[in-house]
Amino acid sequence: MLAYTIRRILLGVPTVLGTLLLLFVVFFAASSPDQIARNALTEKAKPEDIKLWKQNNNYSFSDEKIEEITKKEFGDDYKEKVDAKEIAKWQKENMDIPNFWNSHENGWNVVTKTTFYQFMSKMLVFDFGISTYDKEDIWVKISNGVIPSLAVTVPIFIVGLIISVFISMLAAMFRRTYIDTSVVTACIVGMSIVYFLYIIGIQFVMAKTLKWYPISGWSDNHMIYFITLPFIIGTIATVGESTRFYRTIMINEINSDYIRTARAKGLGDIPILTRHLLRNAMIPILTRVILSLPFLVMGSLLLESFFGIPGLGRMTVDAITYKDLPTLSSVTYLSSIIYVIANIVSDISYTVVDPRIRLN
């Protein structure tokens, strides 16, 4: 058990490294350092400012280093031999630190003096730096956003889970009757509606027309007042899909021999459902629950931005809107770390729930 746990955790390490590589490729390598500098400063920043910013943030070589590599390329007396324009052009093209392989260095520095290595080493110790949009520390922003995000997502998740497991058990119990048919129909209709139509529609009816709830806003002291409407919307919007998922599992289980045996020995419906069906359906339910945990922490992009809740979801939307690459990559990295951890936890938890799974 311990050996399995350790091996499973060690297997997570390459996944995290791979995630970092993917993130780096997507966020940094595809857009040039000049573009990153312009995002961080302003769109009309002067070339000197951009150069300075790049040097300060380790995107390009320092002046001495540029001098050195120019000498290496053209010889020590390049100033007399080669045209100054050509030199300037060459320097402009080669002043950025390479992404993966720095051929101007020797030994390990070939790998360590690169943009990817610097990005990776910072990310691995969770040194996220500051946001380019509002110049705030990203860690502070993230830790401020976690509580509002969890306040929105956790109630939706728990209540939605209970409702959908309950309905799916009913549908499985009364399969091939009108109860089952109407549950499936309702699920299909519910799944076909766009998430933010629920938000716009319910917000319009309940908050704007009937004025039962505030349209949007947030206050740490009156959380319940502000999360009620997002809670209602989120539950209604997500319950259809999960009910359909759980119904398939329940129908698979309810056709098993052990249910027939239980019924044959005279057990009532409720003990069959709770003691036999639910326990055996636990593995897929558990997988789904644990793998949803990262999404709970990361918050709901749409709900938070529609209701003005200052959580991680809205932070992400803002980062997308203002092209705030450091914040976006930090949030993405953090959520993938949580996902990898959740994956490990779900693998280990199978052994707790299901004694049949023997590990070697």
Binding site: T15, G18, T19, L22, S31, N255, I320, T321, T332
Partner: protein, 362 residues
């Protein structure tokens, strides 16, 4: 009705696929229709399929889906009217116009680029919405948007984008998922480890964030959005195929085929792929709806494509907050989005009931 200017007659209209997107839509529709035909005439799937489509609702779903595909197809064939250079026509008349545009113009009596008002108007309205003294030039059954464009026309134009955004990523991801899934499941070992590593890594980044990252770093256009959706959506299917292939590999008839010396590609083609059909088909249909819904969320987050329902809904968000409420853009765009997704879901459910051995067991 003279919807082309009377004094100049276009010479030699010719059919051309102006953009690769149009070819892609035609190919997709052809594949879909061929698949339906193939299943219908197949000696095993045919009878089961008719069983699944028994009743009114599945037939209605199929009819709706075919309607959407027809509109998307009509919107994909376009040709230019070749006016003389000095002829006095509007710039929009020189652009390639699709078969759908031309049919629409025939029905309403004026070219679609002239079928506009100056500002928004309610459905069936006779006057402008905000200023009741101003009469409208034309009848708009779904009203017009703030720019005066006909909502019905815009909604119908959205069909092609939606079908496209659902189908092309599907075509991109299918070969990846089948190739990687089958080879990982069948050969196992190092290859399996590699494939599992690749998809766990990609899957550990939240799909929406990865998509946004790809789309924000590159340019936002239909091609990039499709590639981004295709690259991120193959994982679920690949995982399912891998698991199922691993199960199939151990079965007696595959072992027997191996012993008899049947070459690997033939085992995969004859014995494994047919047994994966139901998984692939059902997942494709579910992925299609997920992709269409994903596009609308992307549009809300600012990564909208032109003439898509998602963008219409995102634009209408501010209209609904105003007083008096302009509701028709939001309602009709989301109604059509709902109808498309619903019809595909119904068809998917019918096909699942027909061919999934698990759904029919009792």
């Amino acid at each position: 009705m003279n919807f082309i200017l009377s004094n100049v007659t276009p010479t030699e209209p010719f059919l051309e696929a102006h953009e690769w997107e149009n070819i892609a839509v035609v190919i997709t529709a052809a594949v879909f229709i061929y698949l339906l035909y193939f299943l219908k005439t197949h000696k095993f799937w045919g009878p089961r399929l008719s069983q699944g489509f028994k009743g009114f609702i599945p037939k209605l779903g199929l009819g709706l889906a075919l309607f959407f595909i027809t509109i998307a197809l009509m919107d994909s064939f376009s040709w230019k009217d070749d006016y003389p250079k000095d002829a006095q026509v509007e710039p929009a008349a020189r652009e390639p116009r699709t078969l759908f545009d031309r049919s629409f113009s025939k029905i309403v009596g004026v070219p679609e680029y002239k079928f506009v008002e100056s500002t928004s108007a309610a459905p069936f309205g006779k006057t402008e919405f905000l200023d009741e003294t101003k009469e409208l030039k034309y009848n708009h059954i779904f009203g017009t948007n703030a720019g005066g464009q006909d909502t019905f026309y815009l909604v119908m134009k959205g069909v092609r984008t939606a079908v496209f955004i659902g189908a092309i990523p599907l075509l991109i991801m299918l070969p990846i998922a089948i190739l990687l899934g089958v080879s990982a499941g069948y050969f196992g070992g190092k290859l399996d480890d590699l494939v599992v590593y690749i998809y766990t890594t990609i899957h550990s980044i939240p799909t929406l964030l990865l998509l946004l990252a790809i789309v924000t770093t590159f340019e936002i256009n239909l091609k990039n959005v499709c590639i981004a959706l295709g690259v991120t959506s193959w994982i679920g299917l690949c995982r399912l195929i891998r698991g199922e292939t691993m199960k199939l590999r151990e079965l007696e008839y595959i072992q027997a085929a191996k012993c008899l010396g049947v070459p690997t590609w033939k085992i995969v083609q004859k014995h494994i792929l047919p047994n994966l059909t139901h998984i692939i088909l059902i997942t494709c249909i579910l992925t299609f709806t997920a992709l269409v819904l994903m596009e609308s969320i992307l549009a809300y987050l600012g990564v909208g494509l032109k003439s898509s329902w998602g963008k219409m809904i995102a634009n209408a968000k501010s209209e609904i907050a105003q007083d008096p409420v302009i509701w028709w853009n939001l309602v009709f765009a989301s109604l059509f989005l709902f109808l498309l997704v619903l019809s595909v879901n119904i068809v998917g459910d019918a096909i699942r009931n027909a061919i999934d051995p698990k759904a029919t067991q009792e």
